[in-house]
Every structure is written in structure tokens, then in C-alpha cells.
């Protein structure tokens, strides 16, 4: 009995998060105002974080919030403010129908293939995932996945350096 | 002169007060008492009286005792506009704008003779002074003096509280004992 209630709750949560993701996605893509689009993206990010939670990976969910919401979207916000702080510089204005059609086609094509693949050929799966310790994850990173880990560190460092170099070039031009 | 000042008056159409969300008498009364006890003034000094306005917030007279020490720099967060000083014609539109920027339950104190009437700066052929802030924005309480002492401003604060709640909350200064400070 209790389990049934919990299962219902779980489904409700699942669909709730999916709804958030869908709404957020549409806001992100269709909003005329870039900051609102960013808020839509944040909605989506929270929804995805919620799905991670439901998949029993709270650490990844929190990392999603920490990295995406706390860092990436703040950076994008910064970019919006620095490039087009005032109305007119963003996405206002009409967009041609042709463009919408092409964009829609571009989006639907993979949707059909992948969607069919996902529905018709589902791999074996189960309902209840395991939660793993953060420590195990860390050990995994440092033992088995040391190369990707180092690579991503390198990538981040290079990106930082590149950003700094670009920013300095900008300042010099002043 | 009075005729010219008429030009400065404009209908306060932009500052239409919203209907209160809760409009029950006892609730309103409690809310009014709360408002009276936390009048946040705006950091808005115009001239000499502003210095006395500072004294009013400082340790000796300490407006904090009556919940009025939170001087907010932004008009959006303040309740009380203390017009402390002479209003020149150049400043007048800005005073009006500040008044309009302040959200609805708001009160205005005209502090000092300049704000009340132009004070010592009223003379023949005078060209730059608005003769009284009440010509441009509605004033609730007047405090005369040039400048008034901080006690006067405190009395003005009490008057605003009286206007809000219908009673004076503090004893009269006549019965006060003399402090050694």
C-alpha cells in the first residue's frame, strides 16, 4: 500500500519534472527576450537535475545545479549584459516563416529517427537504480578514468587561459 | 509670485494609491501603528537643515529609538520624505519626482522655514526659490525653525505618528526631566 503511494508520487514527480523541462525548453528557444530565455534554460536545468535525483544520483544533480546554474548560466548572463544590456540588442523583431520551417525540419528529422529507435528498440532496463557513494565515484575518476579527468582539467585550464587572453586583447584595443 | 508657483503644481495623477489588499478596520489600525513605528526616512538633504537631520539620526537624539533610523537612499524603500532645506526652482521637479517614486503609504515633513515657506530667502525680486514645498507636493507635517533643533524634528516625527494613529504615543516634553548629557 505504502509502496503504491510512493510509486504514484514518483510518477507524479517524474512527469512534473518533464513538464518543467519541456516548458523551460520552449521558453529558452522561443522567448524574444534573452534573459527570459536564460530563465527558461535554468528551468530546464532544474528539471534535469530533478530527473538525476529521481535516478538516485543526487551528487550529479547537485553538481548540475552547482556548475550549470551557479556558473554557466551566470556566465551567460554576464555575456548578455555585456553585449546587449538593453532592449533592441536581443531577439526582438519578426523572424521569417521560411526560417521557422527549416528550423523545424532540422529539429524533427533526428527526432523521428532517435525517437523511433528509443521506442521500438528499448534496451533492457530496470526501474530501481542504485545509489553509489561519492567516494567510489572519486576513486573511479582517479583510477580508471584518469586520462579523461586530466583532459577535462586541461580543457578547463586552456579555456580559462583563452578567455583571459581574449579579454586582454579586448582591453588592449581600447 | 504666487501665480508663478501655480505652474509648478501639477495633479498627482501618477501616484494613484492602490486599493489596500486588506481593508478591514482593525487590521488597518494595526498596520497603521506598525507604519507609524517604522518610518524610514529618505537620505535626502537639501541644505542647512540636512545637517540637523543628520543630528537627529545620530547618537545624541537617536531616531532609532522610534524606529526611524533606517535612512534609505532609494525612494522606493522609504516612507518618509524629510524635505530639509531650500528648494530651488531647479530642484523642484526632482522633489516632485522623488515624491512620485516613493511607494504609496508615504509622508512628507517640511523641515525648516525654507521648506515651509521659502523662509529667509523670500524677498522682493527673488527668482530662484519655491516658496514652500507644499506648493509642489502635499505636506503632512511642518516643522518651523531655521534650522529647527533635532527635538523639533523628533516632534515632527511624533506628529506624523499622531496623524497615522490618532494619538500621541510619547509623553510631552514639558514633564521631562533634564538630562545631564
Amino acid at each position: 500500500m505504502e509502496n503504491l503511494e510512493y510509486e504514484r508520487l514518483a510518477w507524479a514527480l517524474l512527469y512534473g519534472h518533464i513538464a518543467i523541462i519541456v516548458i523551460g525548453g520552449f521558453i529558452t528557444v522561443l522567448s524574444q527576450n534573452l534573459v527570459r530565455a536564460l530563465v527558461g534554460l535554468i528551468m530546464t536545468l532544474f528539471g534535469v537535475a530533478g530527473l538525476f535525483f529521481l535516478m538516485a544520483a543526487p551528487f550529479i544533480a547537485l553538481m548540475q545545479i552547482l556548475i550549470y546554474v551557479g556558473a554557466v548560466s551566470v556566465l551567460i548572463f554576464f555575456a548578455i549584459m555585456l553585449t546587449s544590456a538593453w532592449p533592441g540588442g536581443d531577439e526582438s523583431g519578426t523572424i521569417s516563416v521560411r526560417k521557422i520551417i527549416f528550423a523545424g525540419l532540422a529539429a524533427i528529422a533526428p527526432a523521428i529517427f532517435l525517437g523511433m529507435a528509443a521506442i521500438l528498440k528499448p534496451p533492457p532496463s530496470f526501474l530501481i537504480p542504485d545509489e553509489i557513494e561519492v567516494g567510489i565515484l572519486g576513486r573511479f575518476f582517479l583510477e580508471d578514468f584518469i586520462l579523461p579527468f586530466e583532459l577535462i582539467s586541461l580543457l578547463l585550464t586552456v579555456a580559462m587561459a583563452g578567455a583571459v587572453v581574449l579579454a586582454f586583447e579586448m582591453r588592449r584595443k581600447k | 509670485m504666487a501665480q508663478e508657483n501655480q505652474d509648478l503644481i501639477r495633479p498627482f495623477a501618477d501616484t494613484a494609491t492602490d486599493e489596500p489588499i486588506i481593508n478591514q478596520a482593525p487590521v488597518q489600525k494595526i498596520l497603521n501603528i506598525c507604519r507609524a513605528m517604522s518610518l524610514w526616512p529618505m537620505t535626502f538633504g537639501l541644505a542647512c537643515c540636512a545637517i540637523e537631520m543628520m543630528s537627529f539620526g545620530m547618537a545624541r537624539f537617536d531616531s532609532a529609538r522610534f524606529g526611524a533610523e533606517v535612512f534609505r537612499p532609494s525612494p522606493r524603500q522609504s516612507d518618509l520624505i524629510i524635505v530639509a532645506g531650500t528648494i530651488s526652482r531647479k530642484m523642484a521637479p526632482l522633489v516632485v519626482r522623488l515624491y512620485e517614486q516613493t511607494p504609496a503609504p508615504k509622508w512628507v515633513i517640511a523641515m525648516g522655514n525654507c521648506a515651509i515657506s521659502g523662509g529667509p530667502f523670500v524677498y522682493k525680486n527673488q527668482y530662484g526659490i519655491v516658496e514652500g514645498v507644499d506648493l509642489i507636493i502635499p505636506v503632512d507635517v511642518y516643522i518651523p525653525g531655521c534650522p529647527p533643533r533635532p527635538e523639533g524634528l523628533l516632534e515632527g516625527l511624533f506628529q506624523v505618528q499622531k496623524k497615522l494613529t490618532g494619538r500621541r504615543w510619547w509623553p510631552l516634553p514639558e514633564q521631562a526631566r533634564t538630562s545631564d548629557k
Binding site: L82 | E4, D7, L8, R10, D14, M42, T43, F44, G45, L46, A47, C48, A50, I51, E52, M54, S55, M58, A59, R60, P73, P75, G85, T86, S88, R89, K90, M91, A92, P93, L94, V96, R97, L98, P120, F121, Y123, K124, N125, Q126, Y127, G128, I129, C146, P147, R149
Partner: protein
């Protein structure tokens, strides 16, 4: 008189005239007239790039009170209360300037005791003015507590002054030929007490603020004004002395009885906000020195000339009288045509000259520094 009060987001006359430069993505920021750090009614239009100020232009006149015009309408004694309202922080100096200008024009001989009283009260007033500046400046820099301590002392001095002058702020104490009230023993005693009280206070101020690491970083090497620039703009007072020029009217062209006292003219050649800060802090101590000397040597006698003119009518002619106010050189240029009111009066307000520096100094600094510089100039916009 047609004042258009409609809300206009494109800015008013000044902001429109202040065209942005060719550079893109700069922001025109309107600081004031109602802004906590412009102290009342100064307005500064800034063009900023990020946090850096590209150009700054002060807009004056939000408290234009027609002091000069007023003098032409009113008779000499009727004008007595007004100079103190020109610079409401150091009112007595302005009061003195007016009185002394008329006295000089009429050739009146002021009794010695009156001169001493003038010196004492004026110096006390200078201390209150500097104290207020000190507090307000630190308020600009984000420290809230010092102004409270400054007002503690300020209130005490104001009490002392109020007993004899009758007001706290806008004094109307000096009269043609003397002062309006004699000082008594209680005044002398209280002043002495206050002087000795101030000395440990300065130590406390130093501990709390002057030595503070954060404050030093905020004022050192900020707003450097070379002595040349000061001369160009006619800056005087602590601003000039903070740039290493020990020019003080009290010493350069001694008026009244200042030549009898032994005091230093503090000056710092760092030229920055710290220099101006230290000059004012030292000046308060020098003022205390002057007051103590004056109290020691206070002569007996009249406090006002026996036959002081009630309604002076100075002979035709003009006179210029300058003295050292808390903010710099105060000048009164009085032209009389022999009537009961001046023909023309020109006031030299030190704040005006000092403010004109701001535009040049604040180019290329951060907004926070601009606030610091503005505060260190110690402006009272007349």
C-alpha cells in the same frame, strides 16, 4: 516660468548636452541630485565604461539661493544672518567675512576682546565642520560608525557655541564692531574641558580609522591633485594644503589677531585623498592649540565697540576681505555706493573652485574612487 515636469527618460537638458563619445557601450550615469554621496544637491553626470569613469561633469545650481542678489536688496544688518547659510558648516567664518569686510570699508576698530572671541568661536566652528566632514567622508567610504563618534564631539561643541551665539548651525553672532554677546567664565571653562577631551578622541579616531588598512587602501594614491592643478583651478584650503602648498590665509595675510598665535600649517605633499584627510585631522588639533592660546591670553574689555553702528552706511568704495574657512579661502568683495545696502557683493565660495577640480581628477577612476575624491574635496555647494 515653464517647468516641464513630465518624466523624461531621455534625460534632461544636461544629460542630452552631455553627448556620449564615439566609443560604444559606455553608460551615462546620473549621480544625484539625490544621491547619498553627493551630500545634498550636487549632480554629477558620469560617462562610465564598466566601472571606470571616462568623463564626469558636475551640474551645479540645485541650491542656488541668490545670496549675492540678496545683499543688494537688503541693508547691511539685514544681510547679517545670510552668509552663515552660504556655507552652513562653517557659518561663523562667513559671518566674520561679511562683518570684517564692512568694518574694513568703514575703518572701524574692533575691540581686542571681540577679536579674541571671534577667533575662539570661529576655530570651534572649524572643528565642528571638520568633524562633520570626517564622519560624512567615512560614511561615503562605507563606514557608518565614525560619524556617530564625530557627532558626539560636534554636539558638545555646538552646545558650547549655542550658549553664547544662540544657534547651533546658522550662526548670526558677529556684529559690525564686535560680537553680539560676551563670553563668560562658563564658556571658557567648558571650552577648555572640551579641548582636553578632544585630545584622547583624536587618538581613538586614529586607531579606528586613520590606521585602518581598508581605509588607507581607499584613500592613498587616490585622486592625486598636483599643486599646479590646484593653482590653475584656484583651489584653496585643505585641498591645496593636501597638495603640499602650505598656503593658509591665517598665515599668509594674517587678519584679526591670528598673528599672535603659534600654530602650524599642516601640509602633505602626497597630493592624494590621504593628504587632504590628514590635513584636516591635523587642522583640528591646530585649532585646539589656537583656542587654548586664545583662552590663555584673552584680554578684558568691550566685546563690541561702544559706538558700534546699528545701521552702517559705509562710504562709497570697494573692499576685498578674505579669510580662511574650513573649506578654503572665503572672499567677500563688497562694492558700496554709500547707500544702506551694498551696490554689489561678490562671494568667493571655496567649494566652487574646489569642485571644478573634480571633473579633471575623476577621469579614468573607478566610481568608488570618484566618491572618495568627491568626499575628500569636502564640498558645500553654495
Amino acid at each position: 516660468m515653464n517647468l516641464d515636469l513630465r518624466l523624461d527618460t531621455s534625460g534632461d537638458f544636461y544629460a542630452r548636452k552631455f553627448q556620449p563619445t564615439k566609443r560604444e557601450d559606455t553608460l551615462i550615469l546620473n549621480m544625484g541630485p539625490q544621491h547619498p554621496s553627493t551630500h545634498g544637491v550636487l549632480r554629477i553626470i558620469l560617462e562610465i565604461d564598466g566601472e571606470y569613469i571616462l568623463r564626469a561633469e558636475p551640474v551645479l545650481g540645485y541650491i542656488h539661493r541668490m545670496h549675492e542678489k540678496m545683499a543688494e536688496v537688503m541693508s547691511y544688518p539685514q544681510y547679517l544672518p545670510n552668509p552663515a547659510r552660504t556655507d552652513y558648516l562653517h557659518g561663523l567664518a562667513w559671518n566674520w567675512a561679511h562683518v570684517a569686510a564692512v568694518e574694513r570699508l568703514m575703518g572701524l576698530e574692533v575691540p581686542e576682546r571681540a577679536e579674541y572671541i571671534r577667533v575662539i568661536t570661529c576655530e570651534l566652528n572649524r572643528i565642528t565642520s571638520h568633524l562633520l566632514w570626517w564622519g560624512a567622508y567615512l560614511l561615503d567610504l562605507g563606514a557608518f560608525t565614525p560619524i556617530m563618534y564625530a557627532f558626539d564631539d560636534r554636539e558638545r561643541i555646538q552646545d558650547i557655541l549655542q550658549r553664547i551665539t544662540g544657534s547651533r548651525l546658522t550662526y548670526c553672532y558677529y556684529r559690525f564692531g564686535g560680537v553680539s554677546n560676551d563670553i563668560d567664565d562658563r564658556f571658557i571653562e567648558e571650552t577648555r574641558k572640551q579641548c582636553s577631551r578632544m585630545k584622547p578622541r583624536f587618538k581613538m579616531f586614529k586607531d579606528l580609522v586613520t590606521d585602518n588598512f581598508i581605509l588607507r587602501k581607499r584613500v592613498e594614491e587616490i585622486g592625486e591633485i598636483p599643486a599646479d592643478t590646484c593653482r590653475k583651478y584656484g583651489a584653496t584650503g585643505p585641498v591645496l594644503r593636501g597638495s603640499g602648498v602650505p598656503y593658509d590665509v591665517r598665515r599668509a595675510e594674517p587678519y584679526s589677531v591670528y598673528d599672535r598665535f603659534d600654530f602650524n600649517i599642516p601640509s602633505y605633499d602626497t597630493c592624494d585623498a590621504m593628504g587632504r584627510y590628514l590635513v584636516r585631522m591635523d587642522e583640528m588639533q591646530e585649532s585646539i592649540k589656537i583656542i587654548e592660546q586664545a583662552l590663555d591670553t584673552l584680554p578684558e574689555g568691550d566685546y563690541i565697540m561702544p559706538k558700534a553702528p546699528k545701521k552702517p552706511k559705509p562710504p562709497a568704495g570697494d573692499v576685498y576681505f578674505a579669510l580662511e574657512g574650513a573649506r578654503g579661502k572665503i572672499g567677500f568683495h563688497l562694492v558700496s555706493d554709500g547707500d544702506k545696502s551694498p551696490y554689489r557683493l561678490k562671494l568667493r565660495a571655496p567649494g566652487f573652485s574646489n569642485l571644478s577640480l573634480f571633473s579633471e581628477v575623476s577621469e579614468g577612476v573607478l566610481i568608488a574612487d570618484a566618491v572618495s575624491i568627491l568626499g575628500s574635496l569636502d564640498l558645500v555647494i553654495p
